[in-house]
Symmetry: C3
Amino acid sequence: MTRGMSLQELAEHTGSHLQGDAGFRVMSVAPVETAQVQDISYIRGGKFRHFLDSTQAGALILPLELAESYTGNCLVNANPYLAYAQIVALLHPAPRPEASIHPSAVIASDAEIGEGVSIGAHVVLGQGVELAANVIIEAGCVLGEACKVGENTRLYPNVTLGYGTQVGERCIIHSGAVLGADGFGFAPDNGAWYKIPQVGNVVVGDDVEIGANTCIDRAALGATRIGNGVKLDNLLQIGHNVQIGDHSAIAACTAVAGSVEIGKHCQIGGMCAIAGHLSIADHVVVTGTSMVSRSITHAGVYSSGTSATENAVWRKNAARFNQLDKLARRLAELEKQLADLQNKGSN
Amino acid sequence: MTRGMSLQELAEHTGSHLQGDAGFRVMSVAPVETAQVQDISYIRGGKFRHFLDSTQAGALILPLELAESYTGNCLVNANPYLAYAQIVALLHPAPRPEASIHPSAVIASDAEIGEGVSIGAHVVLGQGVELAANVIIEAGCVLGEACKVGENTRLYPNVTLGYGTQVGERCIIHSGAVLGADGFGFAPDNGAWYKIPQVGNVVVGDDVEIGANTCIDRAALGATRIGNGVKLDNLLQIGHNVQIGDHSAIAACTAVAGSVEIGKHCQIGGMCAIAGHLSIADHVVVTGTSMVSRSITHAGVYSSGTSATENAVWRKNAARFNQLDKLARRLAELEKQLADLQNKGSN
Amino acid sequence: MTRGMSLQELAEHTGSHLQGDAGFRVMSVAPVETAQVQDISYIRGGKFRHFLDSTQAGALILPLELAESYTGNCLVNANPYLAYAQIVALLHPAPRPEASIHPSAVIASDAEIGEGVSIGAHVVLGQGVELAANVIIEAGCVLGEACKVGENTRLYPNVTLGYGTQVGERCIIHSGAVLGADGFGFAPDNGAWYKIPQVGNVVVGDDVEIGANTCIDRAALGATRIGNGVKLDNLLQIGHNVQIGDHSAIAACTAVAGSVEIGKHCQIGGMCAIAGHLSIADHVVVTGTSMVSRSITHAGVYSSGTSATENAVWRKNAARFNQLDKLARRLAELEKQLADLQNKGSN
């Protein structure tokens, strides 16, 4: 349990302006609709605005325009969501294993283990693995030969890193993620498939988060590269030789086929499919369930897919989809005939 | 190998009416098209009805309307599929590890282990873990601090439960599932992403089944909740703070984004995408591959997506999709012009 | 590091015709755009053709039509991609663990271990497991009771095989794959779901590759069968009782629902959804993101889905999709009225 912090301390930590009781003690963070008097919450505006009057929260984090008319305790911040995140980190620190090496871990004799490293039970580290200071490798992780992990990076339980994988500093890799499995490459050979050996690796930058059960394949040759600050959700497929630019984020269940280049500061929604060998410019937003089958050369928002409706309605429209070209041709024919008729009429 | 059971015993176990030889010995269960004389099979009707004449099965489970004219051994049951399931469970019990704790398991000193618990090789149980009676934790599972697992629940090999995860009674969690990884939450901060600490947990009810490699994220605050009797297939993504009502079922590869509320008795097909913060009423059916981008407030069947056709046909229709609005405007213009022409003609 | 091989040796190994310096020593393989003088690369034609003039590669693999006018070192081969793959395998062999059984592995007393087998740290082999000669089981894999693995097959770390799974010879199974979890089968029972016990198994042929975190469910009864030479990418869902014919390949994130039969030599793209109980003929190609909701009875290329466009354009067209049937009816009405008008005019 936290002992809490004063509103004054929270204001200083988050660079917020304080309104109200500086000594008010905040014990925890809660959603505005369920917060109680010991809690701090936040309102950015929009549909949550009406909670300004009704919330039981002991303090709020507010943007200037909402704070002006608010008479309770509050922190005024241009980015209330960021200040909220900072306060959660202060009041609710996640459990962190202590620096130690569990005796059941199997560690190659030439592995290099930095100071303050934590290695959990049943971890396996292959030959030549290098772990920098304060790395956390939780139970059941397996790191193949010559993997390198940067300072303060944390691998949750049961992560697998294939040989030669490199991960930067301050990264978080969630359970079940697999980095460095072979890319999917085969040459046709008389009706069968001949495996293209995948001899590149995976290189992950700093401050990257990789979700549970996400797969990032090793390059066929060279490296599959994940830039600095990239955030990858769960169950993603990142194909061989993909390059993802700094600070891009991809939501769950999206598949990025081989050799795709995604720019910086992109946001790709969930369940998207990006076809192989495309490139996507910086600052592109792709909304969820989109199929990207051509390169995107300009920043902007891109979408595809159709939304669920009542089955009886959908059934009729979906059937018409497969007549679309014919319908369009009939429309063009009608236009022609009508023009003929109009011409005749006007003659 | 099973010693089999008499048709009489099977009738009693399943609450069926018996027709034919009560002492007939059933050794195993088989599909109606391949069943032999020692097997029991079932026919619900529909396209399998014609097997009534040709099946080699020694006994059948039939609904009343099919049983009336059937002269062989049979069990008459209003729900033949359910009776079949009950008989499979009787004749083909799955292997079940015996109650014991493998010496290679690493168990925190303060973990509470109930009676009859089975803990497999290389399992890791964190501090404060509580396993109720008859729980089975198979090889390679890792349970973080303070996880609680209810009576008779079984975790197959290589499951990961993050700290604080709670699982009810009689649940089944398949290999590679990850409960309690961080939700995907970041605040934008000058072009980079600031992590929103995910400090809630995952709470799973009783009689829940969770498929292989499925991910259920911990809540940002509060709990991600899976109701009683919920059935989740493989490779699902269940985002942070999702709430799934009792007895709902979701097929493989579907993604449910953060804070979605799914009602009770819903059926969601495979490869669906449900956008964040929506709510779905009780008794809603969503067919496979649907994109749900608005809340669904009434029970019913909902769908989206279009079906595969020959590539040459699809190519033309898909191209027209991106002209749809223009086509609709041309259609409206034509209607106007034709009306003008008709008016002129009638004047 | 490789010592390299002479161009003459590479020509012999790949059955290529040699042009240029037979003694030229090739050290490694590289993409044509970044290759240096010690590297060999390949050009099949198409957009890479222009690198013929500019590449720094010391040697190239070329098809006859490109080789005729090329004056540098080259190997002439009808299938340059295949020859390239063969040369990668020669020059860049993947690390291969030596034959040995790690002392931390937990192996049932009656398991049968062939000659030359490698068993990694923390592996668990259940009762009655049979591993043929030269099998590699890497760290953290768990094989349930009575699993059988054929000669020269390799399981990467953290693979799970449920009881009774059979894998053929020369297969590769990547990390996190789960074979033999229960299929998703439940009988409705008064508003709840009654589990259909899944008592079949998974049978995988020879020369199969299975990607990371892919799931292949055990059959309800009988077997889920993966044919010889099949290649499965990452994060696939293969439902219970699916049958996949020899030499078919499926790209990442595709879901194949229960009891589907896929023919031989099929190619299924990524993120496809194939509905249950369908059959797909031999030599069918399904492009990525397709929803297959009817059986495909003839070889050919099949597709569905629509491509991402600018969000503002998509929004209008997607809205029209849900009016499609009405638009089509309005079009038909217009055609009728215009025909009436034309008839009137001509009378």
